[in-house]
Symmetry: C2
Subunit: 512 residues, 2 copies
């Protein structure tokens, strides 16, 4: 059995059975081995950013790693910005990067680069395979590292000769480490803080799914504590029944207003809230300056378990999410972020997965989505645009029975449009909504905030993407995705309703 | 004057007057300053890979750096693979990367990453600005470093607060270091080697333009030495009159055959020739094993000057490139790499610039181009696909009076299609030829070469990009470029002839 086959079999033994790939010559033995290891599902992506982002989306929805197969340093480089997002989302990913054959490395061939140096800033674990015989054991260690907790990108660099050489047998099955409960003293400290009033919970990480949110609702009922969510977490359950948990706002002024008057914040798998950017004359933290923080559960601890213990300690009542009819469609009229958000809220199917890369439209659309049926929101965890479409690919592979809706700004959608092709090829059940304002709108706001007093015509040109206008219906169709345009609230409602009724990929260019 | 303005004025004072950008919040002061420093030309690209590749193309054609403006670590990450190509092409580039404001960095905000760690593998010089007052001086040092010799990517990381703070005045005008002549003993050694017969020159770097090639032709006439060119150099002059200088072949068997029987190779701004990849049971070097090498000029030395001294030492005769009519168009028939190459050779305008990302079609098309009118070929220097269209953007900006022809494989074209938008926006005189074989064809060959004995159906799927077929005419039009399809040699000849007659961007999907 050669090294490539040993690697695939080791991954499979560890339940890693999806390989998102953009391979080259040095990875051809892995590609060849797919026919001998049919349980490994190989998915081709046309750009490495799609592989990395799709693995992130898959991990956010399953809690398990997919594997990514990339070609040498430059192939890895193309995936780095979405690995950055995965790192911030604490997603487990097994990242396999091919390297030149060991005897070839010394010649500094054109594609030679420092692969490990590229990998380190985004990876919690990086290793270059030392010899073929260690393939199985090292691959198992790579999977183990990916799980964390918290999850992380785990990068194994494999010289080509170790994949074509005999390499013994598969490595061991590893047990993912489990999240531990925090010490009881921390539960007591959190209870004491909440009993004082003017307090809030701030949730992140694994605390943002139903179990954690349910306990937070109990605690809220028992103490009156407000509940906030880290807006940059990898995944959060949202919808009308869960709207008591509010996302901390993007701009620091709005965030400060939300958190005003709080004297205590209990942190669950998150750090104290901060501003996304620093601005002249403004602090980076957004909680009141005299606010105290209590860490109930650290990033690697069991946040939902800790919340349950805390709720029990507080003798909090049971809590059930209320059921409510979806909100009504907005009246006829122009398509705006607000009316688009109301259409989505009215029509979003229960259990949908929303990949959120809305940028400047995000506050308006997300406010509306808070009234929708229960759904999972997958936010832009690391701020690096180009995540939305790839994450939607991965979420659709993880949950083929659920509708995925990718809500995508037209600027950010242009970073990894290649994801559309994989959606078409794999017939993924993704509705892509392009928010086409034809501008890097967020930068217009940000420019003034960084102290520039006005936007001159030459500066304006650098945030204008209307010249030429990008035709998303042609772009989607060029990559095999059925694509339509909607320019009014009615037209958008009609197209979106049709899209959620039908399985398979569909793109709607929503002209704002 | 704030730091952003000081930086732009320092660059301008040093003749760096083109800024290829994909900015974000932390770079907004630079964008704002464009209206106060109008001599700096700002060009917006929709992906950082386009910025990096365009700066590379500009540098290859002018020998001077453009500047690139990118947003934080993830923005830089998206540019890395084309910076890798630029590094291998030894192109001077001034790479400005914004960083969070210094007071914000400690909070590990979503976009926080180790920017310098991302930059180091591709940069010859990396510095994070220490304070606003040093902006001018550090920017001058950054320009100086970019020039080398040889040229390199020079990365200056600028925290946002240093761009919005007062920063004194512009930095000094720096003198690019010049390439020195090698010691006369090396010229004598090269002359002695060539006089023994069975010898060749292998040229790279700055020796591949007219002056160096002219001296090589003199030396060839005087000694019978063969002349070879490094196929991964950044730029090489080609065409019928220059066809005595032959590119070393891609596959090692063909390269070995070209170099068979040589007892001595004189190296000019290049290393001994090697195989692109290592393969089982095959050495990485391609010259005969007992071949001796003499380094006439190192990478940082004056190759053309050294060749001239060598030619004079050998009392070589004068040499003029012959003029010849262009070859004839091929007969009617199917469109193949061979017939497509013959059309290009027949119709390529004198002085055209060819951006070469042909991958599996490269050997056939380049063989035909050797018979064409004089042109500059810009090869895939670092092997990282996604370079071809961005490099064409930069070449067109560098040489607006010359026709640029980007010959692009359909697989590799999908890595940075966003370059088409900048071509449309800036009305660049680029004809894009997409070689649409709808397959990662090169991998089919490479898979068997790495020891896989056959390509099974599941492996085949990973190198097939025909399902769904990418419609390049829709893709081009979606990004504003007039696009047509040609499926026969006649149709391609007719479309290509029309494209070279007309100024402005045009895409031809050549269905092979």
């Amino acid at each position: 059995m050669n090294g490539a086959e040993v690697l695939l079999r080791t991954l499979l033994a560890n339940r890693v059975d999806l390989c998102l790939m953009n391979p080259g010559t040095s990875e051809m033995q892995f590609v060849s081995a797919l026919d001998r290891v049919p349980a490994m599902r190989g998915i081709l992506c046309l750009h490495e950013g799609v592989c990395a982002g799709a693995a992130d989306g898959y991990a956010r929805m399953t809690g398990r790693p997919a594997t990514v197969l990339l070609h040498l340093g430059p192939g890895l480089a193309n995936g780095l910005s979405n690995f950055h997002n995965a790192r911030k989302a604490r997603s487990p990913i097994v990242n396999i990067v091919g390297e030149h054959a060991t005897a070839h490395l010394r010649y500094d061939a054109p594609l030679t680069a420092d692969v490990a140096a590229f990998a380190r800033p985004v990876s919690g674990w990086v290793q270059t395979l030392a010899n073929a015989a260690e393939m199985g054991e090292t691959a198992s260690a790579c999977v183990q590292a990916a799980y964390g907790p918290p999850g992380q990108v785990s990068t194994l660099i494999v010289p080509a000769d170790f994949s074509w050489s005999p390499a013994g047998g598969p490595g061991p099955v590893v047990e993912p480490a489990t999240r531990g409960m925090p010490a009881s003293s921390r539960i007591e400290a959190a209870a004491a803080a909440l009993r004082q009033g003017d307090a809030a919970l701030l949730l992140g990480g694994s605390a943002l799914l139903e179990p954690g949110l349910t306990e937070a609702a109990r605690i809220r009922a028992a103490t009156g504590a407000q509940v906030f969510t880290n807006r940059y977490a990898g995944r959060v359950v949202r919808g009308a029944a869960w709207s008591f948990a509010r996302r901390v706002a993007y701009f620091p002024e709005a965030a400060e207003e939300m958190l005003a008057g709080l004297r205590h914040i209990v942190l669950v798998e998150t750090e104290p809230p901060i501003s996304f950017f620093g601005y002249p004359g403004r602090r980076s933290t957004v909680a009141p300056e005299d606010c105290l923080f209590t860490q109930l559960a650290a990033m690697d601890e069991d946040g939902p378990g800790a919340l349950r213990a805390l709720a029990d300690k507080l003798h909090a009542p049971a809590w059930q999410p209320a059921t409510a009819p979806p909100p009504e469609l907005p009246p006829s009229g122009p398509l705006t972020p607000e009316s688009l958000g109301r259409v989505l809220a009215a029509l979003l199917p229960e259990g949908a997965i929303v990949s959120d890369e809305m940028v400047s439209c995000g506050e308006a659309v997300n406010a509306a989505l808070a009234t929708a049926a229960r759904h999972d929101l997958l936010p832009l965890s690391g701020g690096s645009i180009g995540q939305g479409l790839p994450v939607a690919v991965g979420a659709a592979m993880a949950c083929p029975e659920r509708k995925v809706v990718a809500i995508e700004a037209d600027g950010s959608g242009l970073y990894t449009p290649q994801a559309l092709w994989t959606m078409a090829r794999e017939k993924l059940d993704v509705t892509v909504v392009i928010l086409a304002n034809r501008r890097y709108r967020i930068l217009e706001v940000e420019m003034l905030r960084t102290g520039a007093t006005q936007i001159g015509p030459r500066a304006d040109e650098m945030i204008d993407i209307a010249r030429p206008a990008i035709d998303w219906t042609l772009l989607g169709r060029s990559l095999g995705v059925d694509s339509v345009r909607a320019a009014t609230a009615d037209a958008f409602a009609s197209e979106f309703a049709a899209a959620v009724r039908t399985r398979g990929p569909k793109l709607i260019e929503a002209v704002l």
